[in-house]
Symmetry: C2
Subunit: 454 residues, 2 copies
């Protein structure tokens, strides 16, 4: 019998259910066949769509998620509600009045103040970056509209968001303190579409929020070209968001029950999304990935440790879900935390924060991930936004599976964050990596309590 004949006979018997492979490989299964992660992203984006925290759409998302996680066979599936302050978008437009009249694509940043319905007209004052805004004398900005540019570039590790995101994070607060009437920034993003990037900004207590908008990159560059021609540029800005007070939000929680009383592993994604897109990359993908992987581990038999899934609410607007989880469970011991919240592209690096005693676990995980094209980082893992509060409360061990962020800031917080951007093959690589890690860590019986020095 030739080798090929033998192979085909084997496949034939397998397909007839006459033989079963001795050991199912859940990692390869995830890599080549997983449909669960895609199904969750497809379902959330199609059947719910945008699901801004505190809105009725986020409530629908929780109901959808509860049913989905029950249907998938998870244990202890539940919603845990809380209340949170809610800001909602209104009308938004921007228009150069002179010297070169034309409309610009703008969107309000979360927590932006509001213009009147008729808008605000004022002269622009240009700043190359946040530091220039911070350095300007108050009297040069009073009653005017600050325009803050920056030089954010695409990076695999997403580090440019931290480096250049300040224009969004604190620029509006700085401008408000200096008496500006409003502020527009170049979107904290990397794509050249006329879709500005929203995202929260924050005003300090006692600082009255001013209207704060983001321009798309083509618009920011067009505006800069106008400014460089040397004449005063007058802008009309209409942004009419509102604060609608405390509203219900909530976390959706599900578990794969473990066979022992060892402290559980908590793994998180966030269920809420910004309102402009359908939240496929940010963060339905994360929920799909962690859920599909937990299910794969469950299918191979009950793990030693419980795996708890936290589909957090209200991450985008202040990590309200993560804070509620941390507060509620601060006295229940956890072993380790992980989070998936950086899109749907492939994992390229693993970072650890483990006790010295668990060195072998780290080595085993790194070895299991290497065939998936994942290398080991040299810096300690930091966790994610939603597991941040419980990590802080308990000084938890962490494993980070770092995703390729090269195109993340093309999509993040924009209307373009939709299902078509998700690459199913890369999504499956995520599920495979998570499956490998969860299979090892949830069956690890040694202590994961960090050495006090860490």
């Amino acid at each position: 019998m030739k080798k090929t004949d033998l192979l085909f006979t084997g496949l034939f018997l397998l397909s007839m259910g006459l033989i079963t492979p001795a050991i199912a490989d859940p990692v390869h299964d995830a890599l080549y066949k997983d449909e669960v992660a895609w199904d969750i992203v497809e379902g959330l984006t199609t059947e719910v769509g945008p699901r801004q925290a505190g809105t009725e759409a986020e409530t629908r998302a929780r109901i959808w998620s509860l049913a989905k996680l029950k249907m998938l066979g998870f244990d202890n599936v539940r919603i845990e509600n809380y209340q949170m302050p809610t800001w909602v978008r209104g009308e938004e437009s921007a228009e150069v009045l002179s010297p070169f009249p034309q409309k610009l694509a703008v969107t309000a940043l979360g927590n932006s103040g509001s213009t009147s319905a008729n808008g605000l007209e004022a002269e622009l004052v240009y700043f190359d970056n946040l530091a220039e805004l911070q350095a300007v004398d108050d009297d040069q900005l009073k009653g005017k509209i600050a325009f803050v540019n920056h030089a954010m570039q695409r990076t695999q590790d997403g580090s440019s968001y931290g480096a250049f995101g300040g224009a969004r994070f604190i620029g509006p607060n700085v401008a408000a303190q200096k008496g500006a009437a409003a502020i527009v920034i170049r979107s904290a993003g990397t794509d050249y579409h006329r879709n500005p990037h929203t995202g929260n900004t924050n005003f300090e207590t006692g600082v009255t929020p001013i209207p704060a908008g983001a321009l798309s990159l083509p618009d920011a560059e067009n505006l800069l070209r106008m400014i460089k021609r040397g004449k005063p540029v007058m802008l009309k800005l209409i942004l009419t968001p509102q604060n609608i007070g405390m509203q219900p939000s909530g976390n959706v929680i599900a578990e794969v029950k473990g066979s022992t009383d060892l402290p559980p592993i908590v793994i998180a994604c966030h269920l809420d999304s910004w309102d402009l897109g359908t939240g496929a990359f940010d963060d339905a993908a994360g929920c799909g990935i962690i859920t599909a992987a937990a299910l794969k581990v469950k299918e191979t038999g009950m793990p030693k440790r419980t795996i708890r899934l936290l589909w957090a609410g209200a991450e985008e607007v202040g990590i309200w879900g993560g804070k509620a989880y941390g507060e509620k469970y601060k006295n229940q011991p956890h072993a380790l935390a992980m989070e998936s919240d950086f899109g749907a592209d492939r994992i390229w690096r693993v970072d650890f924060k483990l006790p010295v005693s668990a060195e072998q676990l780290g080595n085993d995980i790194a070895a299991a991930l290497a065939p998936l094209g994942i290398s080991r980082g040299t810096q300690p893992a930091g966790g994610g936004a939603d597991v941040g509060p419980i990590i802080a409360a308990q000084n938890l061990a962490i494993i980070d599976l770092q995703q390729d962020g090269t195109r993340y800031f093309d999509l993040h917080h924009t209307p373009d964050d939709t299902l078509d951007k998700v690459d199913k093959m890369q999504l499956r690589q995520n599920v495979a990596a998570w499956t490998a890690v969860l299979g090892l860590v949830a069956n690890y019986e040694g202590s994961l309590a960090l050495d006090s020095k860490l």
Copy 2:
């Protein structure tokens, strides 16, 4: 003296103005150094921006163009006005009401009818393509909203626009005739951004226009996923465009005067753009290309034939400028027509429609273009929209320089048609090719009158 020394000495003397090269090569000059084309695209998109036909913005564009063409040293620079019926965009939004409430990105097609300010709510009826819409019984569509999908793909020659554009060109008229309340189509485009593609649709005389919108590709695919789940889909559509009657539009015309009375060459682009973008690709680039090339020819000495530049008005909304030109000049003999209106990417093919007697001219042009990576087509040239009327009136010879359309329908008629999409190197290749062709054809003294059989 070594060769390199000789070269540098030559360059030094050249740079000091001490010697002049015997023959300037305007084609290489265009390819490596042209700034005129970029300058026109940059200027129009920055200082004017969107310039929809019949609006005040198009008037500003004519004034800008008149000054620019005079400044560049053209002869007989002038505006030739006409009146045209004008349609302008209003509010626009689309929202799935059930079973999966969420907003969709929509834009009105040119000539769309209007909903009330409160919008229209109706059930969707899905069609895979235009033929399915054409085949449906009227009673299945009456009072409902048709949703027409299609399978347009990106192509180098842009042929898929003709093949699949029918959903936009005539779909609304078909739906209106069958009693539909409104129609939405998958945008006639190829990009996956939430920026729908506008463009004219036309209703036959006697057919009352219905609201007609285009959805972005991500939205069309999301809507299709909803429909495939089997429940009726209710849509709320707000589109409030208006017809504002006859408005002034106009052509801007400039010439490079020829040394003989031989009939002129007419070369066209269009000055108007759709309102959503800044009309960089469509068609400031075309105006930049033909103008820079004509200038290069002028710089090498007066050509035998006059080169007339037609920066046509109102192409997008019915070729009103091209028709006005054709009518005004139908009794003034022309030799040959060319047009640039397919973006800013490189030219890959040249097509001819020349008399048999001009075979050598065609061969010379093809030989001149080959080093630029341009091959010779096998089909007769067809001309462009704006030169169509004068070609039809006089049965003119034509040369088409075909641009790479691979990404043209990512940008065409969308907010994303902005300066940042123009690749300066490819733009210069266009100028070089046009310079080569104009240099040969404007100095060709033989007859270009087509044989009667053509």
